[in-house]
């Protein structure tokens, strides 16, 4: 997503500078003579431009206080603050640069807070779709995945996913929107180590596979910008982590679930490295000439398809709930106990998505966020409408739980293409997502895959559809130089080489998206299937029959979700 900064962002930044210069030409003239007097052969750039320290034995980054990325303006009248007339153009630039990083950091933190709140949305949706006798257990899984997943992400996930972030492919003129401190994320492992002109290893790989810096956020990455990136990526991973708890709800043994919570960061962060951490899928454009490499703006693939596919593997290993299929193998309904709860959760998720997608610019100064928000909105509403149409077409009533699945499907589908498509494209992507989710729920159910909340269909199937839709509907207006790809022939044809789908003239992008889909489906499924089989040997994945019939709340959690209202009707 964000690794590849756009030339547009850089140009708009230059425009701001040009304007600042135009407003106060006197300062520019005053600043000119001393600069000429220094007679430097090359322009002397501040350290935050080059991310290298002027004194090599005293590195400026990691920077635990953030003071090395420009300076903040001090409009204090006590003689110690800024005196506007005495500021040189470089002084002014220091303040603008610091302001730029500040805007981006605040933006990413605030949108990250919204994403964290999506955890509550998942809890409501999944718990509402389960029976009352399993309410406390389902809610508790959605709760504990947050601490367990975060612990693992802190211990090893972040390092694997983003440890070599700095060496990923970037376009000319790129800078780190969260500040130069991200330059410390510079160690990893891959195939084909790159060397510079002097024959020294650069830290980059032709095919990056994992990162290897930042375990436990030790002093090596003790930097303000790294903390912001860590937080944002952590709340994203928790979305993935909580998806399988829905697909496997009402029968998953608590101990096995806890092991899973500590494991989930492994497959997630390896694949995230391939797409977002500068790994081999992101490098597909440079290595194989396929579009801009795998493009997944906010994570239809990295977050949602991965979660849905792990959920599929989990649902296959754990088996259907008792009573889900009759003696002839026909599916029977086990209705969820609280539909308003499902609707509330869906609204919370749709709200959180306004952090999820626009926050993934990693820059509040990237004005494309306007399109990202509108595209996200449009796809969410056409998703719900698409589900309604599909239900009506099949002669069914508008089941609210399916309408909610439809909205979430639209949101999942637009997550990868949200920055690259136009509003009409977004509406179509959401509509297809909403229709797809209805057929997909029936498809899996008819094949004996019991998914109480529709997680496989919402996140898995529509995550893949979102990835493909980038390769179809991306307009080429945004994403110039994404993943370091700038093709002369495209620049000649269109003026800039933005991310472009097959409807807009770049078939190779579509091919790359198919490769990305195959990668997440195969890698995610094999990793998860093996894990669930192996963890089942350590501690059983499924509760015993008596526990399942009674409800997991009492036997597994020791407390009932609704102690005052519980009337169990054992379901055989």
């Amino acid at each position: 997503m964000c690794k590849a900064k756009t030339v547009w962002l850089f140009l708009s930044f230059l425009t701001i500078l040009a304007c600042a210069g135009a407003v106060r030409p006197a300062i520019a003239e005053e600043a000119a003579p001393p600069a000429a007097g220094a007679a430097a052969p090359a322009p002397k750039l501040p350290a935050y431009f080059t991310t290298t320290s002027p004194e090599p034995d005293k590195p400026l980054w990691p920077d635990p206080a953030g003071g090395n990325s420009g300076v903040w303006a001090t409009p204090a009248g006590d003689g110690k603050g800024d005196i506007p007339e005495k500021l040189s153009l470089p002084d002014l630039y220091d303040r603008i640069a610091h302001n730029l990083f500040s805007i981006n950091i605040v933006w990413v933190l605030v949108t990250g807070f919204l994403v964290m709140f999506m955890q509550a949305g998942f809890m409501f949706v999944e718990t509402g779709l389960c029976r009352a006798k399993n309410a406390a257990h389902t809610a508790a899984m959605n709760f504990m995945i947050y601490p367990l997943g975060c612990l693992a992400f802190w211990a090893y996930g972040f390092a694997i996913g983003w440890g070599n972030w700095w060496n990923g492919p970037v376009p000319p003129g790129w800078y780190a929107s969260l500040g130069p401190g991200l330059s410390v994320l510079s160690e990893g492992w891959g195939l084909g180590a790159a060397v510079d002109a002097a024959g020294k290893l650069t830290g980059a790989f032709t095919y990056g596979i994992i990162g290897a810096k930042g375990f436990f956020l030790t002093s090596a990455v003790n930097d303000v910008s790294v903390m912001v990136l860590f937080f944002f990526m952590m709340v994203f991973m928790d979305t993935t982590a909580t998806i399988p708890t829905g697909a496997m709800a009402e029968r998953w043994a608590w101990k096995n679930f806890c092991l899973y919570g500590l494991w989930i960061a492994l497959p997630y962060c390896i694949y995230a490295n391939w797409v977002w951490g500068g790994g081999w899928l992101a490098q597909g454009g440079l290595n194989w000439g396929l579009g801009h490499g795998a493009v997944d703006f906010a994570g239809s693939g990295v977050v949602h398809a991965m979660g849905g596919i792990i959920g599929l593997a989990g649902a296959m290993v754990i088996g259907a709930r008792i009573g889900k299929y009759d003696s002839h193998g026909r599916p029977k309904a086990l209705p969820g106990h609280n539909v308003p709860m499902v609707v509330l959760g869906t609204f919370i998720l749709a709200f959180g998505w306004f952090g999820f997608n626009p926050g993934s610019t990693l820059a509040g100064t990237d004005l494309r966020i306007g399109f990202v928000v509108v595209n996200t909105l449009l796809a969410s509403i056409t998703g719900a409408i698409g589900a309604h149409l599909a239900l009506s077409f099949k002669g069914l009533k508008p089941d609210p739980t399916m309408l909610c699945n439809g909205m979430l499907a639209g949101l999942v589908a637009i997550t990868a293409p949200c920055a690259f498509v136009n509003p009409v494209g977004a509406a179509i992507i959401g509509l297809v997502g909403g229709i797809l989710v209805v057929y997909s729920v029936f498809f899996w159910e008819a094949r004996g895959i019991d998914d109480p909340v529709g997680a496989i269909s919402v996140h898995g199937v529509n995550g893949l559809w979102g990835l493909l839709s980038v390769g179809i509907f991306a307009t080429g207006e945004y994403g110039a130089g994404w993943n370091g790809v700038v093709r002369d022939e495209m620049v000649k044809l269109y003026g800039a080489d933005g991310v472009r789908g097959l409807l807009y003239g770049d078939f190779s992008q579509f091919v790359m998206q198919i490769i990305d889909c195959a990668a997440v489906a195969i890698f995610g499924f094999i990793m998860a299937y093996v894990w669930f089989k192996v963890s089942d040997l350590i501690t059983p994945i499924r509760v015993d029959k008596e526990t399942e019939v009674e409800g997991l709340d009492g036997p597994e959690m020791g407390t009932l979700g609704y102690p005052d209202f519980q009337i169990h009707r054992g379901q055989e």
Binding site: P331, K332, A333, L334, P335, G336, K394, L396, K397, D399, T401, M402, V438, V441, F442, E445, G454
Partner: protein, 112 residues
């Protein structure tokens, strides 16, 4: 003394209660119950899959009356609880051996 036990459709409760007040009934006990008779249950669809609702929600009213009042009360219930459609419920009239008011220890019709 008689106990009149009536199983009715839940939405008819207010109407029945009004009618019983009019014929001078001063107390009653109701409970929410589930069951089926000739009406049977029905099937519903949830996320495209069928499930059957075998037991339908009903309200059960219990009233104690002196023998002479029983037919009046039964009539009142019959008139107000009837919709004419299947599932209207049933009325049972049961003889009662003894009634005791706990607070005072009164027995028989005085305790009603």
């Amino acid at each position: 003394m008689k106990q009149i036990e009536a199983i009715i459709k839940p939405f008819k409760l207010d109407e029945v209660k009004e009618a019983l007040s009019k014929v001078g009934i001063q107390g009653m006990t109701i409970s929410e119950v589930k069951g089926f008779g000739r009406q049977k249950g029905h099937t519903e669809l949830y996320r495209g899959a069928e499930y059957s609702v075998d037991f339908l929600p009903k309200v059960k009213i219990q009233i104690l009356v002196p023998d002479e009042k029983a037919s009046q009360v039964v009539d009142a219930i019959l008139q107000t609880a009837r919709t004419g459609k299947i599932g209207d419920g049933k009325i049972f009239v049961i003889p009662v051996e003894e009634v005791i008011r706990i607070r005072t220890g009164e027995k028989g019709p005085d305790a009603i």
